[in-house]
Amino acid sequence: MKRPTLLLLAICALAIAACKKVIQVDLNSVAPQIVIEGEVTNGPAPYFVRISKTVDFSASNDYPPVTDAVVLLTDTTNGISDSMVEASPGLYKSIEVGGVPHHTYRLDVTIEGKQYTALSTMPERVKLDSVTFAQNIGFDNKLEINAVAGFQDPPGIADYYQLSETVNSRLIPDIFVLEDRLSDGRYIRYPLYNDSAYFAPGDTLRLTMNCIDRNIYNYFFQLMNVAGNNNFQSATPTNPATNIKGGALGYFSAHTTEKVDIIVY
């Protein structure tokens, strides 16, 4: 339901041009926080865990990596455990653990004596059935092309989906997550309305669909609600509730993943 609220505003903006300008906001500095981002998928190993730190808003987008962390990835269903190795600064790589639906994975991270743990269960895969294109009239009243992902939601199970788009090898920084709370058992055609980038016929689109667990859905749903371009009507911003215990930001997700490459038409 992200789009309609924006549309309401757009209608009002038809007659009255909103003025937009970059401003200086004096924001407080904050002690760097640990950010952990870990994934296990049903795709081929290795899997990666990235650990970095926050920076002040005014700093450049260079996030200091956290090196020399002790990172343990465990498949609690079959007991296989990996001591992950640091492939490059802040990026830790798995060795033996494989990604299997219905398995529950645990991540244990130790940084300077502090412990962080997270659990995630990989859901059953739902097949991405089709990717089509539709036209819509965007916020600024321009005709835009958007992708529509089609898939059959399995009835009787709570499913959570995450989608992302890469156009001409560039990730579009928009968050798309949905749950089947109101769509259980339906054939879902999910339009991906872009706020941050547009594509044209002939572009190469890679559409990725992940089946994620409930915690990860909540994490990204909350992140989406406070994300920059949705801020007109958004909730009071807060840090999304993470599944990592111990006081770190970020998430640890075991999910299935599927990619479709298609030329935009």
Binding site: C19, L27, L171, R186, T236
Partner: protein, 773 residues
């Protein structure tokens, strides 16, 4: 226990009454020319100074005194005062018709009050405006608007551009009870808040109670906005209207039976959509955006003791976007009233009130045809009685029963759609109240108004009621049958105000009141939406309660030409509502699991100086205030500033009658930016920049300020035809007031982030032509 107290109170007063023989003079006060009843006219006996009362909402007055010869004084500003000799040797019925004061000048800013009533009455925290007063105050698109104008008064704060909601003394948007001829208006805005639902052509006056609420009102924590519609002229027919850039208005009024009954009809419609349709651009001409509304009122007087009123409102907004998205929403209200004078001392009004708010959303995209509807419907029976005991001694009592039926959401979906059809269960409840209050002047200097409102709320079946654990997961559920009682809440709400008149021109007042609120508006977005969800209190959501103490000093200067007041208030609030992270309020049967509860406190100081007479009139209002919340689960359970927390809030209104033809006016507002949460740091997840937040609402939007000006040119008066042109500019100096500030990656330099401010209106000029015949 409450019932016993009420009985005791009543009987003690009863004893008092029978002690002495009194006779009564009573009647209705009307405008001589139009027959329109005059609300709040001052009536007193010259010989008994403390006998002064104001005519009630139906123009009725009653004064009792020992037998003797008296002079009845009747005054109402904008009208010639009248004095009538009265010999009280029996009860007398005495209707009074007042003539309007000559000369246009006196009409410019008039107050529907006795000149020094602000000083003498016990009530405090009350502001009253008539449509005549707001006529010259400039507003957006030149669309006169009572709700916008009251936001220029102290303690009543504008919620921001594109928002007709307002905050009263730190209360939320849903804590204002907005009544149109007694019917609750659930969504008082058109076009997402740019206009209010109240067509000023149809409105007689508006009274705002922000503290010291009379016991007759209840149901909301912060304020009561009581709006009354015009009755219509009962002598002759009149037509009027206006043509503006945004809308056209038309109204008609006239007698049904001369001197006995009248009607008034007002309608308006916007026509921006007509221009959209002529656009050759297909992406524009498929859009639609309009609203219309209609106010109808009729009344008929059977005899001096019986009169009936029927009034209704219907309004609808329709917004749609390129056939892919559409929403229409609106209110409908209806009020049937019967005034009955039992005897010269006992006045009764019985009302049957209906109110409905509904919206409907349609979305068509990628084979997803879905509809979403929701509505709230009230049926209310209300009885108000006024017993005029003797001079300076009046009792108000009555009851109200409201049946609420809410349909939180119905989803309809085409077979090929991505969504399942769904009907959320309806919510039923009964909101009851019993009240009594006593207005009493023990001496010329002391005026007292005290009372009790007892509210009794019943949550009714049928339905499944859930309980939740502390993290919002469903713990248990119970099925209730139709008509069974799920839970009840009883709230005694004592109210009292006391004023001490220091001298003819100044007084000191204190008041205390408790209010409770059983309906709550859920919205987890930063601005109000037509789709915001009303929910009743339930087994999980307790009624909100507020206790407010206030103290004030009132002073009139220069022969009542200037009015000055200073009021301070402290309000503590219980059972306030906030939301969990990522709360899902849309089509959620378990919406109550998404809520967090806590307490609030608000305090402030309000200064008000008004010039009421002369060529130049207007006012200055200043509010210094703080509003904070402490909610379990938010901001580490520490106090944080509420969104509506405003340190400083200033309004200036000036109206200058330059010549008999030209009236110039200007307003200027300034307020501290609202409290917002900004990021302190940033990090990367999923290849995207995310922001790190520390404290809730620790930052401020930039200060808001704006000046609006208007000039009204009175056309030549022909026989019966009057016309005027109003030219106005909203945001004269083009201040870019921040509507929203967003944080994002710099599109030109991906290694940086930036803050971008969006502003809405800069210089909105408008012109309106009004006519009347």
């Amino acid at each position: 226990m409450i019932r016993v107290t009420l009985l005791l109170l009543l009987s003690s007063i009863g004893v008092n009454v029978s002690a002495q023989t009194h006779f009564t003079v009573s009647g209705t006060i009307r405008d001589k020319k139009t027959g329109e009843i005059l609300i709040g006219a001052s009536v007193s006996l010259l010989e008994i100074p403390r006998s002064g009362i104001a005519s009630n909402a139906y123009g009725f007055y009653s004064i009792s005194a020992p037998p003797g010869k008296y002079t009845l004084l009747v005054s109402f500003s904008g009208y010639e005062p009248d004095s009538i000799p009265v010999r009280l040797d029996q009860n007398i019925g005495l209707p009074v018709d007042l003539a309007t004061a000559g000369g246009a000048l006196t009409e410019v800013v008039v107050s529907a009050q006795k000149k020094n009533e602000n000083v003498t009455r016990a009530l405090m925290g009350v502001q009253k405006l008539t449509t005549r007063e707001i006529r010259n105050v400039p507003v957006l698109f030149g669309e006169k608007d009572v709700l916008k104008t009251i936001q220029l008064l102290p303690g009543i704060q504008f919620a921001g551009d594109g928002n007709s909601g307002f905050y009263v003394r730190g209360g939320g948007l849903d804590q204002n009870l907005i009544l149109l001829d007694e019917a609750t208006v659930y969504n008082p805005s058109h076009l997402l808040g740019f206009f209010s639902t109240f067509n000023s052509d149809a409105i007689k006056d508006i009274t705002v109670y922000k503290g010291g609420m009379p016991a007759e009102y209840g149901g909301r924590l912060s304020s009561v906005v009581d709006i009354k519609m015009n009755d219509g002229n009962n002598k002759e027919y009149h037509f009027g209207g206006g043509i503006g850039l945004i809308s056209t208005r038309l109204n008609a009024e006239g007698p049904i039976v001369k001197d006995r009954g009248s009607f008034s009809i007002s309608g308006r419609r916007t026509y921006a959509d007509v221009f959209l349709k002529i656009s050759p651009d297909s992406s524009v001409n498929q859009n639609s955006v309009y609203f219309y509304d209609l106010n109808i009122k009729a009344n008929y007087r059977f005899d001096e003791n019986n009169r009936v009123y029927l009034s209704g409102y219907f309004g609808r907004d329709n917004l749609s976007f390129a056939n892919t998205f559409g929403i229409d929403y609106g209110n409908a209200t209806g009020t049937a009233r019967w005034n009955h004078v039992f005897n010269s001392r006992l006045f009764s009004n019985t009302s049957l009130i209906y109110s409905k708010y509904s919206y409907k959303i349609k979305i068509n995209s990628a084979n997803n045809d879905i509809g979403f509807t929701s509505n709230i419907r009230d049926v209310n029976l209300k009885e108000d009685l006024q017993y005029f005991v003797d001079a300076g001694n009046k009792i108000d009592f009555g009851f109200s029963v409201i049946h609420h039926a809410m349909a939180p959401g119905i989803i309809s979906a085409s077979p090929g759609s991505s969504f399942n059809p769904l009907t959320l269960q309806n919510k039923y409840s009964l909101e009851n109240a019993l009240y009594i209050s006593h207005e009493w002047s023990p001496s010329d200097r002391w005026h007292l108004n005290y009372g009790l409102r007892a509210s009794y709320f019943l949550v009714l079946g049928p339905g499944k009621f859930y309980t939740y654990d502390s993290s919002g997961n469903t713990k248990d559920s119970t099925q209730y049958n139709s008509g069974s009682i799920v839970t009840t809440y009883t709230n005694p709400e004592p109210r009292a105000s006391l004023s001490f008149q220091i001298n003819q021109t100044s007084s000191l007042k204190i008041s205390y009141n408790r209010n409770s609120q059983v309906l709550h508006l859920l919205s987890n977005s930063t601005s109000s939406n037509p789709t915001d969800l009303w929910i009743p209190s339930s087994n999980n959501v307790k009624p909100e309660i507020a206790d407010q103490e206030s103290i004030g000093y009132f002073r009139n200067l220069r022969d009542d030409r200037y009015e000055f007041s200073v009021e301070a208030y402290y309000k503590s609030m219980q059972n306030q509502i906030d939301y969990r992270n990522g709360a899902e309020l849309i089509a959620n049967e378990n919406v109550e699991s998404q809520l967090l509860f806590g307490k609030g406190r608000a305090y402030g100081l309000e200064l008000f100086l008004k010039k009421k007479a002369g060529k130049f009139t207007g006012w200055i209002s200043y509010t210094l205030s703080r509003t904070e919340l402490k909610i379990d689960g938010i901001n580490r359970n520490n106090w944080y500033p509420a969104k509506q927390d405003r340190t400083h809030d200033v309004s200036l209104v000036g109206i200058y009658q330059a010549s008999p033809k030209w009236t110039l006016s200007a307003t200027w507002v300034y307020y501290t930016g609202s409290a917002v949460t900004f990021p302190n740091g940033k990090y990367q997840v999923g290849g995207m920049t995310a922001f790190y937040y520390t404290e809730r609402n620790a930052y401020r939007m930039p200060a808001y300020h704006r000046m609006d000006v208007a000039a009204t040119l009175q056309g030549k008066k022909k026989k019966k035809f009057e016309s005027s042109w109003t030219f106005s500019v909203y945001n004269l100096y083009g201040r870019e007031n921040a509507y929203s500030i967003i944080f994002q990656n710099d599109p030109d330099d991906p290694s940086k982030t930036q803050a971008v401010q969006y502003a809405l209106f800069r210089f909105v000029p408008s012109v309106t032509y009004n006519f009347k015949f």
